[in-house]
């Protein structure tokens, strides 16, 4: 497997403060990876290292096969949308993209196409200073796509976007993946991010807490599946008793439904039994979400609170 980003023992210290400590991980080429972690986890430091804006204190970092530190030409192959993207307010959207396209030696025809793609064609001749936050964010996405980069880094890309614009952004991310580009999305919005990523790198206080595809992380966590049953009203109590007898403690919800947790190892057998139970009119199985995985990994807790439950892959 080839990697768009590969780091080994990557460390960045500011004096005594370790912004990133001994991180070994990779972003496979052609995948969409979520870069997760609370504020101060080291996400921005990792992005700056990938862009070659700061030098690592230790370890090795390879981006698209090159050492990014001061390799400014490498950035021709990288697109970057900063968090809270700010632009020169006196330029129009079109002028700004023209300027950035020249810097990136991108085809000028791309500018109009990208403005249309992010829904800013009508505002192209307006000064960026008059744009709303959402419009600036869309302009930021457009500039990140200039020059058809092989690697796209999106830092909190849906900040300020309305739901429709967020969906459009993730549609563009899907197109990037389909065309073989690698995408790294740094975000706090786990529920929103989950359907659009192939895997995650989770950082906590500068250290890598977990890395892998969502399936791998889920298997490693072995969190139970959440099942909601709809039973005939007069059979709920009998169903609860039967489940208790099978060592599947369940509880009735105020809306009359019954919910229970199925241990991963026992999930299929238990589901078969539930499907065969005459009291069960319907059932809904919910796999552990990214948010639950994140909480289980303790990404939001201080590193000193406990030992890491996972070995990074």
């Amino acid at each position: 497997m080839s990697y768009a980003i590969e780091c080994e023992g990557l460390t960045k210290r500011y004096g005594a403060l370790a912004a990133l400590e001994d991180v070994t991980a990779g972003v496979p080429s052609g995948r969409v990876i979520g870069l997760l972690g609370h504020n101060g986890a080291g996400k921005s430091t990792l992005i700056k290292l990938v862009l070659g804006l700061i030098a690592p204190t230790g370890g090795r970092l390879s981006v698209l096969g090159e050492n990014p530190w001061r390799a400014h030409r490498l950035r021709q192959r990288i697109g970057y949308l900063p968090e809270n993207a700010a632009f020169h307010p006196n330029l129009t959207g079109r002028e700004l993209l023209d300027y950035l396209a020249r810097l990136k030696r991108a085809e000028r025809a791309q500018v109009q196409m990208l403005l249309g793609r992010v829904g800013l064609a009508d505002a192209a001749k307006r000064r960026v200073g008059t744009y709303s936050k959402g419009m600036r964010q869309r302009l930021g996405l457009a500039q990140a796509l200039l020059g058809s980069p092989e690697l796209v880094l999106l830092d909190e890309p849906t900040t300020g976007l309305d739901p429709q614009a967020s969906r459009e952004l993730y549609r563009i991310v899907g197109e990037l993946r389909a065309s073989g580009r690698s995408v790294v999305i740094s975000s706090h919005l786990l529920a929103e991010l989950e359907p659009h990523i192939d895997g995650a790198l989770i950082l906590r206080q500068g250290r890598l807490l977990a890395a892998g595809t969502l399936v791998e992380l889920s298997e490693r966590a072995a969190l139970p599946a959440h099942v909601v049953l709809r039973a005939h009203a007069d059979e709920v109590q009998a169903l609860l008793a039967r489940l208790a007898a099978r060592s599947l403690p369940a509880q009735a919800r105020p809306d009359g439904r019954v919910e229970l947790q199925l241990p991963r190892a026992d999930k299929l057998r238990a589901l078969r039994e539930l499907v065969g139970d005459p009291a069960v009119a319907d059932l809904d199985v919910r796999e552990p979400t990214l948010t639950q995985l994140y909480d289980w990994l303790g990404a939001g807790r201080p590193a000193s609170a406990e030992a890491s439950p996972c070995t990074p892959s």
């Binding site: 862009l51 804006l53 700061i54 030098a55 400014h72 950035r75 900063p82 993207a85 632009f87 006196n90």
Partner: protein, 277 residues
């Protein structure tokens, strides 16, 4: 070079768009015409008088105003981008740090040079129309030299502004340093030299050093370039007192001024290269 010129063109256009270029050109034109018209007011004469006296007054005025404008036009060129969040984006482009600072420096220098050229050339053209005696090739050579040296002086202070902008953490601090730098180079430097001159009591060895000490300040080099050609008595008595009749080679003065235009910028580039963002 492509990246430097792209950034330079953008900065040049920004200065034009922000009315900096036009405001400076108008200011220079008005000041020049004002000096030309009212230059003899103290002697009871109003109107265009001697072209040499006008140019000498312009040199004295330029030595005050041009450094200030050079500093004002560029003091926030990097720190301002850092403050408003655009620096990170710019550095994520395939652009070396030196190319970014170089482009900004060139763009601001070009804007200042265009404003200087337009402002003073317009004023001189009006003077020449009003004062037929000044319609000579020599007069145009003088004004050409004045504009060239003024542009180099401006470039020097744009370079200083870039250095301040790279080294400071906030726009307000950069503005403060720029003003201190202006005061130091335009006023304090000469005062310190004058004090040393007085204290030395005319020591011949020390007097021999002063002509070279003046080269340590681009403002004085600018004065020397312009006043030396006009002859003593045409302008700054302080300067002529310090040079004590020392004859500078014009090429040396231009070389030093060129060096002053390049040195702060080179320092700014080197400093920015080592900065982490």
């Amino acid at each position: 070079m492509h990246a430097i010129l792209t950034v330079a063109w953008k900065e040049f256009r920004d200065d034009f768009r922000n009315r900096w270029t036009i405001a400076i050109a108008v200011l220079f034109a008005l000041l020049a015409l004002g000096i030309a018209w009212f230059g003899g007011a103290a002697a009871g004469r109003v109107g265009f008088t001697s072209f040499d006296a006008t140019l000498a007054s312009l040199t004295t005025l330029g030595a005050f105003v041009i450094p200030l404008i050079g500093l004002l036009i560029a003091y926030d060129t990097v720190v301002g981008d850092r403050d408003d969040g655009t620096l990170l984006l710019m550095l994520s482009y395939p652009l070396a740090r030196g190319q970014l600072v170089g482009g900004k420096f060139l763009g601001h220098c070009a804007a200042l040079a265009v404003a200087t050229c337009a402002g003073f050339a317009l004023a001189v053209a009006i003077m020449q129309v009003m004062q037929p005696a000044a319609q000579t090739l020599t007069a145009w050579l003088y004004i050409g030299r004045f504009i060239l040296s003024a542009s180099l002086l401006g470039a020097s202070f744009v370079g200083f502004a870039c250095l301040i902008s790279v080294q400071t953490a906030s726009k307000s601090r950069a503005a403060g340093l720029a003003l201190i730098g202006w005061l130091a180079s335009v006023v304090l430097f000469d005062l310190v030299l004058l004090a040393l001159l007085v204290m030395s009591g005319g020591n011949p060895l020390e007097r021999a050093v002063y002509p070279y000490l003046l080269l340590l300040n681009p403002v004085d080099v600018f004065r020397l370039v312009n006043l030396a050609a006009l002859g003593n008595g045409a302008g700054n008595e302080l300067l002529t007192g310090m040079t004590a009749g020392y004859a500078y080679a014009p090429a040396l003065l231009y070389a030093v001024l060129l060096g002053w235009a390049a040195l702060p910028f080179a320092w700014a580039t080197a400093a920015f290269r080592g900065k982490e963002v």
